[in-house]
Symmetry: C2
Subunit: 206 residues, 2 copies
DNA sequence: ACGATCGTGTCAACAGTGTTGACATCGGTC
DNA sequence: GACCGATGTCAACACTGTTGACACGATCGT
Protein backbone atom coordinates (compact mmCIF):
# COMPACT_ATOMS: atom_id res chain seq x y z
CA UNK A 1 0.00 0.00 0.00
CA UNK A 2 3.10 2.27 -0.06
CA UNK A 3 5.05 3.52 -3.04
CA UNK A 4 3.11 6.68 -3.57
CA UNK A 5 5.63 9.49 -4.00
CA UNK A 6 8.29 8.20 -6.35
CA UNK A 7 7.49 4.66 -7.24
CA UNK A 8 4.21 5.24 -9.00
CA UNK A 9 5.19 2.51 -11.43
CA UNK A 10 5.51 -0.03 -8.67
CA UNK A 11 2.02 0.54 -7.40
CA UNK A 12 0.62 -1.39 -10.31
CA UNK A 13 3.23 -4.10 -10.01
CA UNK A 14 2.28 -7.28 -8.16
CA UNK A 15 3.29 -7.84 -4.58
CA UNK A 16 5.63 -5.08 -3.52
CA UNK A 17 5.82 -4.96 0.25
CA UNK A 18 3.44 -7.74 1.10
CA UNK A 19 4.80 -10.91 2.64
CA UNK A 20 4.71 -13.46 -0.11
CA UNK A 21 5.42 -17.07 -0.81
CA UNK A 22 8.61 -18.47 0.69
CA UNK A 23 11.74 -18.52 -1.39
CA UNK A 24 14.35 -19.91 0.94
CA UNK A 25 15.04 -23.48 2.03
CA UNK A 26 13.39 -23.24 5.43
CA UNK A 27 10.26 -21.77 3.96
CA UNK A 28 9.93 -24.51 1.42
CA UNK A 29 10.16 -27.10 4.16
CA UNK A 30 7.37 -25.68 6.30
CA UNK A 31 5.31 -25.03 3.21
CA UNK A 32 5.56 -28.71 2.35
CA UNK A 33 4.65 -29.64 5.92
CA UNK A 34 1.55 -27.47 5.66
CA UNK A 35 0.64 -29.05 2.34
CA UNK A 36 1.01 -32.56 3.75
CA UNK A 37 -1.12 -31.79 6.77
CA UNK A 38 -3.72 -30.14 4.56
CA UNK A 39 -3.96 -33.11 2.21
CA UNK A 40 -4.36 -35.45 5.14
CA UNK A 41 -6.96 -33.44 7.04
CA UNK A 42 -8.97 -32.30 4.02
CA UNK A 43 -9.21 -35.90 2.84
CA UNK A 44 -10.30 -37.12 6.24
CA UNK A 45 -12.66 -34.35 7.37
CA UNK A 46 -13.49 -32.40 4.23
CA UNK A 47 -13.14 -28.71 3.55
CA UNK A 48 -15.66 -27.36 6.05
CA UNK A 49 -14.60 -29.84 8.71
CA UNK A 50 -10.96 -28.80 8.60
CA UNK A 51 -9.87 -25.55 10.22
CA UNK A 52 -6.83 -23.57 9.22
CA UNK A 53 -5.67 -23.71 12.80
CA UNK A 54 -5.90 -27.50 12.78
CA UNK A 55 -3.76 -27.67 9.65
CA UNK A 56 -1.23 -25.31 11.18
CA UNK A 57 -1.12 -27.28 14.40
CA UNK A 58 -0.67 -30.58 12.57
CA UNK A 59 2.15 -29.04 10.55
CA UNK A 60 3.74 -27.62 13.70
CA UNK A 61 3.37 -24.02 12.68
CA UNK A 62 1.05 -21.05 12.95
CA UNK A 63 -2.27 -20.41 11.22
CA UNK A 64 -1.08 -17.01 10.04
CA UNK A 65 1.74 -18.68 8.15
CA UNK A 66 -0.70 -20.99 6.42
CA UNK A 67 -2.58 -18.03 5.04
CA UNK A 68 0.59 -16.18 4.15
CA UNK A 69 2.02 -19.08 2.22
CA UNK A 70 -1.12 -20.15 0.41
CA UNK A 71 -3.23 -16.99 0.26
CA UNK A 72 -6.43 -18.45 1.65
CA UNK A 73 -7.97 -21.67 2.90
CA UNK A 74 -9.64 -22.14 -0.46
CA UNK A 75 -6.37 -21.86 -2.39
CA UNK A 76 -4.72 -24.23 0.06
CA UNK A 77 -7.50 -26.69 -0.66
CA UNK A 78 -7.10 -26.33 -4.41
CA UNK A 79 -3.33 -26.72 -4.28
CA UNK A 80 -3.26 -29.74 -2.01
CA UNK A 81 -6.20 -31.87 -3.11
CA UNK A 82 -5.19 -34.15 -5.95
CA UNK A 83 -7.66 -34.60 -8.76
CA UNK A 84 -8.91 -38.07 -9.42
CA UNK A 85 -7.45 -39.56 -12.53
CA UNK A 86 -5.94 -40.19 -14.89
CA UNK A 87 -8.32 -41.65 -17.36
CA UNK A 88 -6.85 -39.96 -20.40
CA UNK A 89 -4.84 -42.96 -21.51
CA UNK A 90 -7.98 -45.07 -21.28
CA UNK A 91 -10.39 -42.71 -22.98
CA UNK A 92 -7.87 -42.15 -25.76
CA UNK A 93 -7.59 -45.87 -26.36
CA UNK A 94 -9.63 -48.32 -28.35
CA UNK A 95 -13.40 -47.97 -28.26
CA UNK A 96 -13.98 -51.69 -27.97
CA UNK A 97 -14.63 -52.61 -24.34
CA UNK A 98 -13.97 -49.03 -23.28
CA UNK A 99 -16.98 -48.90 -20.97
CA UNK A 100 -15.76 -51.85 -18.98
CA UNK A 101 -12.25 -50.50 -18.74
CA UNK A 102 -13.52 -47.16 -17.46
CA UNK A 103 -15.60 -48.78 -14.74
CA UNK A 104 -12.70 -51.00 -13.83
CA UNK A 105 -10.45 -47.98 -13.49
CA UNK A 106 -12.93 -46.09 -11.31
CA UNK A 107 -13.33 -49.09 -9.05
CA UNK A 108 -9.56 -49.42 -8.91
CA UNK A 109 -9.27 -45.96 -7.41
CA UNK A 110 -11.66 -46.99 -4.70
CA UNK A 111 -9.18 -47.89 -2.03
CA UNK A 112 -6.90 -45.03 -2.86
CA UNK A 113 -7.02 -41.54 -1.49
CA UNK A 114 -8.54 -40.36 -4.76
CA UNK A 115 -12.04 -41.22 -3.65
CA UNK A 116 -11.63 -39.13 -0.54
CA UNK A 117 -10.34 -36.27 -2.62
CA UNK A 118 -13.27 -36.49 -5.01
CA UNK A 119 -15.69 -36.50 -2.11
CA UNK A 120 -14.07 -33.44 -0.58
CA UNK A 121 -14.05 -31.62 -3.90
CA UNK A 122 -17.71 -32.28 -4.65
CA UNK A 123 -18.77 -31.18 -1.19
CA UNK A 124 -16.69 -28.04 -1.52
CA UNK A 125 -18.14 -27.20 -4.93
CA UNK A 126 -19.81 -24.16 -3.47
CA UNK A 127 -16.59 -22.49 -4.47
CA UNK A 128 -16.62 -21.56 -8.12
CA UNK A 129 -12.90 -22.32 -8.32
CA UNK A 130 -13.51 -25.84 -7.12
CA UNK A 131 -16.34 -26.25 -9.59
CA UNK A 132 -14.14 -24.93 -12.36
CA UNK A 133 -11.52 -27.46 -11.43
CA UNK A 134 -13.95 -30.39 -11.45
CA UNK A 135 -15.39 -29.38 -14.80
CA UNK A 136 -11.93 -28.89 -16.25
CA UNK A 137 -10.90 -32.33 -15.08
CA UNK A 138 -13.96 -33.89 -16.69
CA UNK A 139 -13.14 -32.07 -19.88
CA UNK A 140 -9.49 -33.15 -19.88
CA UNK A 141 -10.09 -36.74 -18.83
CA UNK A 142 -13.14 -37.59 -20.91
CA UNK A 143 -14.42 -35.11 -23.43
CA UNK A 144 -11.17 -33.99 -25.05
CA UNK A 145 -9.64 -37.46 -25.52
CA UNK A 146 -12.85 -39.34 -26.19
CA UNK A 147 -15.03 -37.12 -28.37
CA UNK A 148 -12.76 -37.11 -31.46
CA UNK A 149 -12.74 -40.91 -31.50
CA UNK A 150 -16.50 -41.29 -31.40
CA UNK A 151 -18.35 -41.95 -34.59
CA UNK A 152 -21.99 -41.17 -35.14
CA UNK A 153 -24.00 -38.15 -34.05
CA UNK A 154 -23.31 -35.79 -31.12
CA UNK A 155 -19.86 -37.09 -30.23
CA UNK A 156 -19.13 -34.37 -27.69
CA UNK A 157 -22.48 -34.67 -25.96
CA UNK A 158 -22.08 -38.43 -25.78
CA UNK A 159 -18.63 -38.04 -24.27
CA UNK A 160 -20.04 -35.73 -21.63
CA UNK A 161 -22.82 -38.18 -20.87
CA UNK A 162 -20.24 -40.90 -20.39
CA UNK A 163 -18.55 -38.59 -17.90
CA UNK A 164 -21.90 -38.07 -16.19
CA UNK A 165 -22.37 -41.82 -15.87
CA UNK A 166 -18.99 -42.18 -14.26
CA UNK A 167 -19.66 -39.31 -11.86
CA UNK A 168 -22.83 -41.14 -10.90
CA UNK A 169 -20.79 -44.23 -10.12
CA UNK A 170 -18.35 -42.11 -8.13
CA UNK A 171 -21.28 -40.65 -6.22
CA UNK A 172 -22.32 -44.11 -5.12
CA UNK A 173 -18.77 -44.86 -4.02
CA UNK A 174 -17.78 -41.55 -2.48
CA UNK A 175 -20.77 -39.35 -1.70
CA UNK A 176 -23.54 -41.69 -0.66
CA UNK A 177 -22.53 -44.73 1.34
CA UNK A 178 -24.12 -47.27 -0.99
CA UNK A 179 -23.05 -50.56 0.54
CA UNK A 180 -24.83 -52.59 -2.09
CA UNK A 181 -22.52 -51.14 -4.72
CA UNK A 182 -19.29 -50.96 -2.76
CA UNK A 183 -19.76 -54.53 -1.63
CA UNK A 184 -20.89 -55.88 -4.97
CA UNK A 185 -18.74 -58.24 -6.98
CA UNK A 186 -16.38 -56.19 -9.05
CA UNK A 187 -16.77 -58.24 -12.19
CA UNK A 188 -20.55 -58.00 -12.10
CA UNK A 189 -20.31 -54.25 -11.64
CA UNK A 190 -17.95 -53.96 -14.57
CA UNK A 191 -20.17 -56.03 -16.77
CA UNK A 192 -23.38 -54.16 -15.93
CA UNK A 193 -22.27 -50.57 -15.74
CA UNK A 194 -19.68 -51.05 -18.45
CA UNK A 195 -22.37 -52.19 -20.84
CA UNK A 196 -24.53 -49.19 -20.01
CA UNK A 197 -21.63 -46.88 -20.78
CA UNK A 198 -20.71 -48.72 -23.93
CA UNK A 199 -24.14 -47.93 -25.35
CA UNK A 200 -23.20 -44.27 -25.53
CA UNK A 201 -19.76 -44.99 -26.92
CA UNK A 202 -20.86 -46.91 -29.99
CA UNK A 203 -24.20 -45.23 -30.37
CA UNK A 204 -26.07 -45.90 -33.56
CA UNK A 205 -25.15 -49.57 -33.35
CA UNK A 206 -27.91 -51.61 -31.88
CA UNK B 1 -24.86 -32.61 20.70
CA UNK B 2 -28.48 -33.02 21.71
CA UNK B 3 -29.53 -36.57 22.40
CA UNK B 4 -32.77 -36.39 24.29
CA UNK B 5 -35.39 -36.60 21.59
CA UNK B 6 -36.45 -40.08 22.57
CA UNK B 7 -35.97 -40.59 26.26
CA UNK B 8 -36.66 -38.27 29.18
CA UNK B 9 -39.88 -39.77 30.40
CA UNK B 10 -40.14 -37.33 33.23
CA UNK B 11 -37.78 -34.77 34.56
CA UNK B 12 -37.03 -34.58 38.23
CA UNK B 13 -36.17 -30.94 37.72
CA UNK B 14 -38.21 -28.92 40.20
CA UNK B 15 -39.15 -25.78 38.37
CA UNK B 16 -37.39 -24.97 35.17
CA UNK B 17 -38.43 -26.50 31.89
CA UNK B 18 -36.35 -26.18 28.73
CA UNK B 19 -37.77 -23.77 26.16
CA UNK B 20 -39.07 -26.07 23.47
CA UNK B 21 -40.91 -26.06 20.21
CA UNK B 22 -43.81 -23.63 19.97
CA UNK B 23 -47.31 -24.86 20.74
CA UNK B 24 -49.41 -21.74 20.41
CA UNK B 25 -50.69 -19.92 17.34
CA UNK B 26 -48.13 -17.14 17.35
CA UNK B 27 -45.29 -19.56 17.64
CA UNK B 28 -46.47 -21.60 14.72
CA UNK B 29 -46.60 -18.47 12.59
CA UNK B 30 -43.04 -17.39 13.24
CA UNK B 31 -41.88 -20.95 12.92
CA UNK B 32 -43.39 -21.03 9.44
CA UNK B 33 -41.76 -17.71 8.60
CA UNK B 34 -38.40 -19.11 9.64
CA UNK B 35 -38.97 -22.22 7.55
CA UNK B 36 -39.87 -20.16 4.48
CA UNK B 37 -36.82 -17.97 4.82
CA UNK B 38 -34.64 -21.02 5.33
CA UNK B 39 -35.94 -22.79 2.24
CA UNK B 40 -35.34 -19.68 0.17
CA UNK B 41 -31.85 -18.90 1.44
CA UNK B 42 -30.59 -22.48 1.60
CA UNK B 43 -31.70 -23.03 -2.00
CA UNK B 44 -30.02 -19.86 -3.18
CA UNK B 45 -26.79 -19.88 -1.20
CA UNK B 46 -26.42 -23.43 0.07
CA UNK B 47 -25.93 -24.65 3.62
CA UNK B 48 -22.52 -23.17 4.35
CA UNK B 49 -23.38 -19.92 2.58
CA UNK B 50 -26.45 -19.28 4.70
CA UNK B 51 -26.07 -18.05 8.27
CA UNK B 52 -28.60 -18.57 11.00
CA UNK B 53 -28.62 -14.84 11.56
CA UNK B 54 -29.48 -14.23 7.91
CA UNK B 55 -32.40 -16.64 8.13
CA UNK B 56 -33.61 -14.96 11.30
CA UNK B 57 -33.31 -11.51 9.78
CA UNK B 58 -35.17 -12.56 6.64
CA UNK B 59 -37.91 -14.03 8.79
CA UNK B 60 -38.05 -10.91 10.94
CA UNK B 61 -37.01 -12.62 14.13
CA UNK B 62 -33.99 -13.48 16.21
CA UNK B 63 -31.30 -16.07 15.61
CA UNK B 64 -31.78 -17.50 19.08
CA UNK B 65 -35.39 -18.29 18.22
CA UNK B 66 -34.32 -20.13 15.10
CA UNK B 67 -32.18 -22.44 17.18
CA UNK B 68 -34.80 -22.74 19.90
CA UNK B 69 -37.49 -23.76 17.42
CA UNK B 70 -35.47 -26.09 15.24
CA UNK B 71 -32.73 -27.34 17.52
CA UNK B 72 -29.79 -26.59 15.26
CA UNK B 73 -28.91 -25.22 11.86
CA UNK B 74 -28.51 -28.75 10.57
CA UNK B 75 -32.00 -29.78 11.68
CA UNK B 76 -33.42 -26.61 10.20
CA UNK B 77 -31.79 -27.56 6.93
CA UNK B 78 -33.18 -31.08 7.04
CA UNK B 79 -36.69 -29.92 7.87
CA UNK B 80 -36.90 -27.21 5.25
CA UNK B 81 -35.13 -28.60 2.19
CA UNK B 82 -37.53 -30.61 0.05
CA UNK B 83 -36.26 -33.81 -1.43
CA UNK B 84 -36.22 -34.12 -5.18
CA UNK B 85 -38.90 -36.38 -6.47
CA UNK B 86 -41.16 -38.13 -6.73
CA UNK B 87 -40.13 -40.81 -9.12
CA UNK B 88 -41.95 -43.61 -7.37
CA UNK B 89 -44.92 -43.59 -9.70
CA UNK B 90 -42.53 -43.83 -12.65
CA UNK B 91 -40.22 -46.49 -11.30
CA UNK B 92 -43.23 -48.56 -10.26
CA UNK B 93 -44.66 -48.40 -13.77
CA UNK B 94 -44.07 -50.37 -16.92
CA UNK B 95 -40.51 -51.37 -17.72
CA UNK B 96 -40.86 -50.57 -21.39
CA UNK B 97 -39.39 -47.16 -22.13
CA UNK B 98 -38.74 -46.59 -18.44
CA UNK B 99 -35.23 -45.25 -19.02
CA UNK B 100 -36.53 -42.50 -21.27
CA UNK B 101 -39.30 -41.58 -18.87
CA UNK B 102 -36.86 -41.30 -15.97
CA UNK B 103 -34.54 -38.99 -17.90
CA UNK B 104 -37.53 -36.95 -19.01
CA UNK B 105 -38.66 -36.59 -15.43
CA UNK B 106 -35.23 -35.52 -14.19
CA UNK B 107 -34.98 -32.94 -16.95
CA UNK B 108 -38.46 -31.74 -16.08
CA UNK B 109 -37.36 -30.89 -12.57
CA UNK B 110 -34.63 -28.76 -14.03
CA UNK B 111 -36.34 -25.41 -13.84
CA UNK B 112 -37.92 -26.14 -10.50
CA UNK B 113 -36.46 -25.51 -7.09
CA UNK B 114 -35.73 -29.21 -6.79
CA UNK B 115 -32.43 -28.91 -8.58
CA UNK B 116 -31.31 -26.24 -6.16
CA UNK B 117 -32.36 -28.41 -3.27
CA UNK B 118 -30.46 -31.39 -4.62
CA UNK B 119 -27.37 -29.26 -5.09
CA UNK B 120 -27.59 -27.95 -1.54
CA UNK B 121 -28.11 -31.43 -0.13
CA UNK B 122 -25.16 -32.97 -1.96
CA UNK B 123 -22.86 -30.16 -0.91
CA UNK B 124 -24.03 -30.51 2.68
CA UNK B 125 -23.51 -34.27 2.69
CA UNK B 126 -20.70 -33.89 5.19
CA UNK B 127 -23.50 -34.28 7.67
CA UNK B 128 -24.32 -37.92 8.20
CA UNK B 129 -27.98 -37.00 8.62
CA UNK B 130 -28.04 -35.37 5.21
CA UNK B 131 -26.30 -38.38 3.71
CA UNK B 132 -28.79 -40.67 5.39
CA UNK B 133 -31.59 -38.64 3.89
CA UNK B 134 -30.17 -38.79 0.37
CA UNK B 135 -29.62 -42.50 0.57
CA UNK B 136 -33.10 -43.05 1.95
CA UNK B 137 -34.60 -41.04 -0.89
CA UNK B 138 -32.71 -43.10 -3.45
CA UNK B 139 -33.96 -46.22 -1.79
CA UNK B 140 -37.57 -45.05 -1.69
CA UNK B 141 -37.65 -43.58 -5.18
CA UNK B 142 -35.73 -46.21 -7.10
CA UNK B 143 -34.68 -49.38 -5.40
CA UNK B 144 -37.85 -50.25 -3.51
CA UNK B 145 -40.31 -49.66 -6.34
CA UNK B 146 -38.09 -50.82 -9.17
CA UNK B 147 -36.16 -53.85 -7.96
CA UNK B 148 -39.19 -56.16 -7.54
CA UNK B 149 -40.23 -55.53 -11.13
CA UNK B 150 -36.86 -56.34 -12.64
CA UNK B 151 -36.32 -59.76 -14.13
CA UNK B 152 -32.95 -61.38 -14.56
CA UNK B 153 -29.99 -61.44 -12.20
CA UNK B 154 -29.07 -58.89 -9.51
CA UNK B 155 -32.31 -56.91 -9.60
CA UNK B 156 -31.46 -54.80 -6.55
CA UNK B 157 -27.97 -53.99 -7.71
CA UNK B 158 -29.26 -53.03 -11.12
CA UNK B 159 -31.87 -50.76 -9.55
CA UNK B 160 -29.15 -49.05 -7.56
CA UNK B 161 -27.02 -48.62 -10.65
CA UNK B 162 -29.96 -47.00 -12.39
CA UNK B 163 -30.13 -44.60 -9.47
CA UNK B 164 -26.41 -43.97 -9.84
CA UNK B 165 -26.84 -43.11 -13.49
CA UNK B 166 -29.56 -40.62 -12.63
CA UNK B 167 -27.46 -39.05 -9.92
CA UNK B 168 -24.74 -38.63 -12.53
CA UNK B 169 -27.19 -36.79 -14.75
CA UNK B 170 -28.26 -34.66 -11.80
CA UNK B 171 -24.61 -33.88 -11.14
CA UNK B 172 -24.23 -32.49 -14.63
CA UNK B 173 -27.34 -30.37 -14.14
CA UNK B 174 -26.91 -29.23 -10.55
CA UNK B 175 -23.35 -29.68 -9.32
CA UNK B 176 -21.11 -29.03 -12.30
CA UNK B 177 -22.19 -26.31 -14.69
CA UNK B 178 -22.13 -28.50 -17.78
CA UNK B 179 -23.53 -26.18 -20.44
CA UNK B 180 -23.24 -28.79 -23.15
CA UNK B 181 -25.78 -30.93 -21.32
CA UNK B 182 -28.09 -28.24 -19.97
CA UNK B 183 -28.23 -26.65 -23.41
CA UNK B 184 -28.60 -29.88 -25.34
CA UNK B 185 -31.81 -30.78 -27.08
CA UNK B 186 -34.05 -32.49 -24.62
CA UNK B 187 -35.21 -35.20 -26.98
CA UNK B 188 -31.67 -36.14 -27.89
CA UNK B 189 -30.75 -36.32 -24.23
CA UNK B 190 -33.73 -38.52 -23.50
CA UNK B 191 -32.91 -40.84 -26.36
CA UNK B 192 -29.23 -41.22 -25.50
CA UNK B 193 -29.23 -41.40 -21.73
CA UNK B 194 -32.57 -43.19 -21.66
CA UNK B 195 -31.14 -45.96 -23.79
CA UNK B 196 -28.12 -46.28 -21.52
CA UNK B 197 -30.38 -46.64 -18.52
CA UNK B 198 -32.68 -49.07 -20.29
CA UNK B 199 -29.77 -51.47 -20.71
CA UNK B 200 -29.72 -52.06 -16.97
CA UNK B 201 -33.49 -52.32 -16.73
CA UNK B 202 -33.93 -55.17 -19.16
CA UNK B 203 -30.56 -56.71 -18.63
CA UNK B 204 -29.99 -60.12 -20.15
CA UNK B 205 -31.76 -59.04 -23.32
CA UNK B 206 -29.35 -58.08 -26.02
C1' DA C 1 32.42 -3.55 12.20
C1' DC C 2 28.00 -1.55 11.56
C1' DG C 3 23.20 -1.03 10.11
C1' DA C 4 19.74 -2.17 6.62
C1' DT C 5 17.06 -5.63 4.42
C1' DC C 6 14.66 -9.64 3.81
C1' DG C 7 12.78 -14.20 4.90
C1' DT C 8 10.52 -16.40 8.58
C1' DG C 9 7.93 -16.99 12.75
C1' DT C 10 4.76 -15.36 16.71
C1' DC C 11 1.05 -12.97 18.70
C1' DA C 12 -3.09 -10.29 19.12
C1' DA C 13 -6.93 -8.68 17.13
C1' DC C 14 -10.91 -8.24 13.86
C1' DA C 15 -15.54 -9.51 12.15
C1' DG C 16 -18.25 -13.35 11.59
C1' DT C 17 -20.23 -18.10 12.86
C1' DG C 18 -23.51 -21.52 15.71
C1' DT C 19 -25.25 -21.92 20.10
C1' DT C 20 -26.64 -21.03 24.99
C1' DG C 21 -28.32 -18.79 29.07
C1' DA C 22 -30.29 -14.97 31.46
C1' DC C 23 -33.72 -11.69 31.34
C1' DA C 24 -38.12 -9.14 29.49
C1' DT C 25 -42.74 -9.20 27.93
C1' DC C 26 -47.05 -10.69 26.76
C1' DG C 27 -51.69 -13.45 27.29
C1' DG C 28 -54.41 -16.09 29.89
C1' DT C 29 -56.07 -18.70 34.53
C1' DC C 30 -56.66 -18.82 39.71
C1' DG D 1 -54.75 -8.20 41.56
C1' DA D 2 -50.95 -12.36 41.32
C1' DC D 3 -49.18 -16.29 39.03
C1' DC D 4 -47.31 -18.82 34.94
C1' DG D 5 -46.06 -20.62 30.69
C1' DA D 6 -45.21 -19.34 25.97
C1' DT D 7 -42.77 -16.08 23.15
C1' DG D 8 -39.24 -12.71 22.20
C1' DT D 9 -34.70 -10.00 23.11
C1' DC D 10 -29.99 -9.39 24.37
C1' DA D 11 -25.39 -10.53 25.60
C1' DA D 12 -22.06 -13.72 25.80
C1' DC D 13 -19.34 -18.04 24.72
C1' DA D 14 -16.00 -20.62 21.84
C1' DC D 15 -14.74 -21.00 17.38
C1' DT D 16 -13.75 -19.65 12.39
C1' DG D 17 -10.74 -17.23 8.39
C1' DT D 18 -7.92 -13.47 7.89
C1' DT D 19 -4.92 -9.38 8.77
C1' DG D 20 -1.52 -6.40 10.77
C1' DA D 21 2.13 -5.41 13.96
C1' DC D 22 6.17 -6.95 15.85
C1' DA D 23 10.46 -10.08 16.88
C1' DC D 24 14.10 -12.93 15.51
C1' DG D 25 17.88 -14.54 12.42
C1' DA D 26 20.71 -14.46 8.39
C1' DT D 27 22.66 -12.00 4.53
C1' DC D 28 24.40 -8.06 2.22
C1' DG D 29 26.33 -3.43 1.05
C1' DT D 30 29.16 -0.15 2.90
Amino acid sequence: MNADALGALDSAAPGVARPRAPTGEKGRVTRAAIADAATKLFSKHGFAGTSVRAVASDAGTDSALVIRYFGSKEQLFLETMPMIGQFEHITAGALDGLGRRLVDSVLGAQQATQISAYRALVRASDSSLVRQRLVQAQQDMFVTPLAPNLTGPNPELRARLVAAQLSGLLDALAIFPDEAITAADRDVLIELYGAAIQVLIDWPTA
